[in-house]
């Protein structure tokens, strides 16, 4: 595991309680989730009670306390994608993957997320897989897109 990376992140912010959110973001970006041991390390390094670290880690939606799948499937449900049919698209992605938003499958292939308009409304409705935008989607195109990720 990349605990070296976590140590590097912590070394940059050691003893700075105000950097708590930033440190958690950096670990989340690095590992894509926050393991329990990492939270304990953060508490120790930043000199913040573990309860406080847990409070922040559970409050913000960006932080995940569970491991994510190999591929992150993000269905944009912003207002523009919504009026352009995001609900039908999401229903199809849910049907294909068997996942609800926030869930990861047992084989750790996909994690499904919704929400958070990324500002590329001109491409909507869209599905973003591992950061790649699949624009102007229809339910019929979902299978073809998901097949590309194993």
């Amino acid at each position: 595991m990349c605990s070296d990376k976590i140590d590097q992140i912590l070394a940059r912010h050691r003893g700075k309680p105000g950097a708590l959110i930033r440190v958690l973001i950096e670990i989340q970006h690095e590992k894509r989730w926050l393991p329990k041991e990492a939270l304990a390390k953060v508490a120790q390094a930043l000199e913040v009670p573990l309860s406080r670290v847990t409070q922040i880690a559970t409050f913000y939606k960006t932080f995940s306390l569970k491991p994510k799948g190999r591929h992150e499937v993000h269905v944009c449900t912003g207002s523009s994608c919504h009026v352009r049919g995001a609900a039908r698209l999401l229903a199809e992605v849910q049907r294909m993957t068997g996942l609800k938003p926030g869930e990861t499958d047992s084989e750790s292939r996909f994690s499904l997320e919704t929400g958070s308009c990324l500002g590329s409304c001109s491409l909507g409705p869209e599905i973003i897989v591992d950061g790649t935008h699949h624009a102007r989607m229809t339910p019929a195109k979902v299978e073809g897109v998901l097949k590309r990720y194993s």
């Binding site: 309680p17 105000g18 950097a19 708590l20 959110i21 930033r22 958690l24 973001i25 409070q55 922040i56 409050f59 913000y60 939606k61 960006t62 932080f63 449900t77 912003g78 207002s79 523009s80 919504h82 009026v83 352009r84 929400g115 958070s116 308009c117 990324l118 500002g119 590329s120 409304c121 001109s122 491409l123 909507g124 869209e126 973003i128 935008h133 624009a135």
Partner: protein, 528 residues
């Protein structure tokens, strides 16, 4: 690079940068804004660079040009020739000058705009401060530091009647004055670049594409208010935005435009970057300040304004990205010039994110007072698939909708607020006649139900109950009394919540009950 220690030093540097540039030399600007980036503009950049390397042509990667719908966008100067939907294989033709472009001032999307804030985007590589300096950047800061007193700067902003672009439309000058006069040993300035509202993407277009414009405004504001520490609060999920902001800060500091003894004036100012972590309420001013302190972003009652007691109980002046971006032009061109643009109560230009059922999605900038018809039809190209227009929605989940018949309403803080559709941050959602207005209210409430921080009961529980009623109405299970119950709940949450999220959560619903009540009544079956 040596730190600049005088106004003259800045002008010498600028003259040097400009003298090294040949205005006649061709430059190809490729948009890497949110829409174009997602449409793989990076591949276009690679292809153009490979082709241009053979000739003396620059390829610049820039921020958002505006017309996201037709991305990836390319603009070639001189001549401002636009190329739309560019693919890597188009590179040879563009570089050779044989591909046919359209002059920017002849593109309908652009020609009805007044692009004071975003117009420089195609001319600026956001990672190079020299590009901003070449266009006159930081001259306003120099003027504010050496030719004006902080009070004179404040007076100009007040006289310009610059109103906050983040949603409230509160006069920025009055807020600055409150923060300046509040008794304290320290005070702060903050850029709110949270932009968590779905369908709003103009702030990141501006901030990612021209970060120094926002930073210059912030430094001028800090000097006027007497702050030596500033905070930028922005999105964690936009890597380019973060990179450009951090690069801009480092370059400004290297040139002595930020940090200790700015331009030798004796004024010290430093800036930290903080990130939102994906929750809508953290864009609310008091919640945002808790977040900067490292606490959960729970709003607090505002009996005392944050401009009096904000971060660590110190006076903290928060303005939105677009508000700060307006400051430098007010200082360099004067309050009278600024106030000559717009309407009686709404001055200057406004960025608008166009989305939904519109032909041209993108970021437009128009003078305040521009009729919505111009924005939707002339700039936006009308409704997609030639369908009839049904409604326009401003301000996202805390905004409101107006029907098509009000399309001649001017873009004006007060005129739109009076109709129940306040401008908000400037996200304009276009809806065609197939849109279900009951479902739209349900959609916005569902969004806010997930975003409620849970502190105030009327917000946490009231939104949920409204959502339940609206969900059953959209499922054909509306019952007698539902509309009255919705109106009751909307009134209570509107009064009894601490922050704007709870207070205005039912605004979309209220606007729809005002303008589209028949659709709601039709969802109550006879005898239901």
């Amino acid at each position: 690079m040596a730190k600049l220690r005088s106004a003259a030093g800045l002008e010498t540097l600028r003259a040097d940068i400009v003298s090294r540039r040949d205005p006649g030399k061709r430059c190809i600007a490729v948009c890497a804004g949110a829409g174009c980036d997602a449409a793989c503009s990076a591949a276009v950049v690679d292809a153009l660079r490979e082709e241009a390397a053979k000739k003396s042509i620059d390829v610049k990667v820039t921020g958002c040009h505006g017309l996201c719908e037709k991305g990836p966008n390319v603009v070639v100067t001189p001549g401002e020739l636009c190329y739309f939907g560019v693919r890597p294989e188009d590179a040879p033709g563009i570089v050779a000058g044989t591909a046919k472009g359209v002059r920017m001032d002849e593109v309908p999307f652009y020609k009805h705009q007044m692009r004071l804030l975003i117009g420089d985007n195609p001319r600026i590589d956001p990672t190079r401060i020299e590009d901003y300096l070449a266009l006159g950047g930081y001259a306003a800061l120099s003027k504010a530091l050496f030719q004006m007193t902080p009070d004179q700067v404040l007076d100009q902003v007040k006289k310009a009647n610059l109103r906050g672009r983040g949603g409230g439309g509160f006069p920025a000058g009055l807020k600055w004055e409150t923060a300046k006069n509040a008794p304290a040993d320290e005070r702060y300035v903050i850029v709110n670049g949270h932009e968590g509202e779905p369908g709003a993407f103009m702030d990141r277009a501006l901030f990612t594409g021209n970060p120094h414009k926002v930073l210059e405004g912030l430094i001028i504001g800090a000097h006027a208010i007497g702050a030596h520490r500033g905070f930028i609060y922005t999105r964690h999920d936009s890597p380019k935005l973060i990179e450009h902001i951090e690069t801009a800060l480092a370059q400004a500091e290297a040139y002595g435009l930020l940090g200790e003894n700015i331009l030798g004036s004796g004024f010290d100012f430093e800036v930290e970057v903080h990130f939102d972590v994906g929750i809508f309420v953290s864009g609310e001013s008091s919640a945002l300040m808790r977040s900067i302190e490292g606490n959960p972003p729970e709003p607090r009652p505002k009996y005392v304004r944050t401009s009096v007691s904000g971060i660590w109980e110190k006076p903290s002046n928060l303005n939105n990205v677009e508000t700060w971006a307006n400051v430098s032009q007010i200082i360099s061109r004067g309050a009278d010039w600024y106030a000559s643009i717009g309407t009686e109560g709404s001055k200057g230009t406004k960025l608008v994110s166009l989305s939904g059922h519109v032909v041209n999605s993108g970021v437009a900038e128009v003078p305040m007072g521009t009729p919505l018809r111009t924005i939707v039809h002339d700039i936006g190209g009308g409704v997609a698939d030639a369908k009839p227009l049904k409604a326009l929605h401003f301000g996202g989940p805390m905004g409101g909708s107006i029907p098509e018949r009000l399309i001649d309403t001017p873009l004006d803080f007060d005129a739109l607020a009076a109709l129940g559709a306040p401008i908000g941050a400037g996200g304009l959602l276009v809806m065609d006649d197939g849109t279900d207005m009951v479902d739209m209210a349900r959609y916005f409430l569902e969004f806010l139900t997930h975003e409620s921080c849970g502190k105030c009961v009327p917000c946490r529980e009231g939104l949920l109950q409204m959502l339940k009623i609206l969900t059953s109405m959209t499922n054909g299970k509306g019952r007698n009394g539902d509309i009255a119950r919705l109106e009751d709940l909307a009134e209570v949450t509107g009064m009894a919540c601490l922050c704007a999220l709870g207070k205005t959560a039912s605004d979309p619903l209220r606007s729809m009950l005002r303008h589209f009540k028949d659709e709601y009544e039709a969802r109550i079956p006879a005898g239901g």
